[in-house]
């Protein structure tokens, strides 16, 4: 409903003669939207916008959620803070045999979690892993640089489609479009080498993620991911986390190529 109200105003530029009227209409709409918004956050009128009038996600972001410890509700463990979980409905709907694999992953997590090798975290894990990500935005795409591994993900927003090839990528292939002020991203063509968190929740190469990115105020992104994988889950399920803009002065990403730590002592040559 919010989308239907907002989009006619924001999508089309208005001639100067009606600009005042348009502004007034927009103000009223924003008031209305703020009053009925189902989000945990009221929609903020001061959300930044890009040159093409889309919400501007540019910046350095990080979640405060403990989602990466374990997406599901859990009490405190030596390796995880307690959390009510971020999965809608509480638990992930595993198929029976997949649940057994998840349990095995959980028991072996201190050696088997791909994150421990510094490998790419995949989608959506890279988004809520507790390290900053930087988003660079232009009309044709959004580029996400993850501090962890410095892996670079492109979300294409230029009406292009998934390639036909049966590709097998760490971060999948991301095609986005705007539904009002929400960026909706369809992601598929994954490999099966990443996990969804540090507690052994996992997926296969049939993973299909639909993300909904929404700027709820200038410094907060609401990130929702609907996760489908017919080899692992009995139905699609949804998680929600919030990302916060880093407020520190001069904050920047610091490259984190920790997968090189096993061999980096051999370089460069040193005097005998």
């Amino acid at each position: 409903m919010i989308i239907a109200l907002e989009s006619p105003v924001l999508k089309q530029p208005h001639p100067h003669s009606v600009a005042y009227l348009a502004l007034a209409r927009r103000f009223l709409l924003l008031l209305l939207v703020a009053a009925i918004a189902p989000s945990a956050y009221a929609i903020d009128a001061k959300r930044p916008r890009s040159q093409d009038k889309k919400p501007d996600f540019s910046g350095i972001w990080e979640t405060t959620s403990p989602a990466d410890d374990d997406l599901e509700p859990h009490t405190a463990r030596r390796d995880a803070a307690p959390s009510a979980g971020v999965v809608e409905g509480g638990e992930i709907p595993y198929l029976p045999q997949a649940l057994a694999q998840r349990q095995k992953n959980f028991e072996q997590r201190h050696t088997a979690d791909p994150k421990l090798k510094g490998w790419s975290l995949g989608v959506p894990r890279g988004i809520y892993h507790r390290e900053p990500i930087q988003i660079f935005q232009r009309p044709r795409d959004l580029t996400i640089v993850h501090q962890f591994g410095h892996s670079v993900r492109t979300i294409h927003t230029n009406q292009t489609e998934h390639p036909d090839d049966p590709n097998d990528w760490w971060l999948g292939d991301s095609r986005g479009h705007w539904e009002g002020d929400t960026l909706v991203v369809d992601v598929k063509h994954f490999n099966d080498k990443t996990w969804l968190d540090a507690a052994g929740n996992y997926h296969s190469d049939a993973l299909h993620v639909v993300e909904r990115w929404k700027l709820v105020d200038a410094n907060t992104i609401e990130y929702q991911a609907t996760i489908d994988d017919a080899k692992v889950f009995s139905r699609p399920w949804k998680l929600t986390v919030y990302l916060h803009r880093h407020p520190e002065k001069n904050f920047q990403l610091i490259e984190d190529y920790r997968y090189t730590l096993d061999y980096d002592q051999y370089y460069p040559p040193k005097p005998n």
Partner: protein
Amino acid sequence: MHALSLLFKQSGFWLALAIGSASTYAFAADEKASNPEASKSNTPTQVTQSVAAPAPALVPAPARRPRETRFPILVSEKWTGPTLADGQPDISGLWSNTIGNHGNLEDPQGGVIGEARRTPLGPRDQRAPSRVTDPADGKFPFQPWAKAKVDAFRIGFHNPTDPSHVEPNARCAPGGVPKSLYWHGYDIQQYPGYVLFVFDNGSRIIHLDHKPHLPSTLKLWNGDSRGHWEGNTLVVDVSNHNGKALFGRSGEFVSAHATIKEKYIFSKDGKRFNYEGTFDDPTVYTKPFTITIPAIKYTSAEESDGWNLEARWAKHAGKAQILEHDERICHENNGGFGLGATETNAPPSNK
């Protein structure tokens, strides 16, 4: 060391495969023969395709821009081309070096040092000049100990007996500064306050906002970059460099004590630039030296050659050819050159 031995075995396999397809395209094959990684790709899918194609002669070679043996000198001057909203010269796009890759810096078209050739090299002046443009003799001004180390690397490279003989980039470490600029093609993107380089291995975020450098104790593969535009020239100061990314298969390097000043000088038409990087490291060299790397911009009319232009035409309903690059992730040795290591290190299967 088990993973390493697999890695070497694997590289031999890819070399054999590359030579096997040598008759198809003379120049490309020559480059592959001296560079096993020319047949390496970053996606397992593409690796599979390489192995599964028994008759590469039937596959037409994609058009490939010829390698330059000479290139124009570009000077810093006023920028008269298109600019972005924030005033930066608009130079975004897919770029690649023009004269060769990382096999040999002092003789970029001379093949990997110490490797047998199928065809003898012609006169030196028929090949591109040294990437070292200062000193004038084109030689790295090594201190004796550093020259001895580089000589040892050039021998060990062909039959490694020590982990330091493996080029870190072959293990999927970032190409670093300056090698990333003469490795695969790359994407330069521009945003208010930033120039972003997306390389085949790794990325560089050039900050244009004059913020201070990171604390000097932090040492990074790609260093910490601060830049600004002077007319047609992007001037970049690189600090916090860890010195670990070797310059190429000829083994040159700087230590973590180096200071690096870069100039990216763009031509008037925006179709090419020359990189001039000045490296000063009194712990390794007797004097500063400058490396010059010519680069050209690719257009959406060009088809991927899998190396300099590593991109594909996007699928879409319209008629325009839109180039886009696949994800470039190689931190797990998941390409052909190190595939054995990947399988060794793989986590328990999810299946």
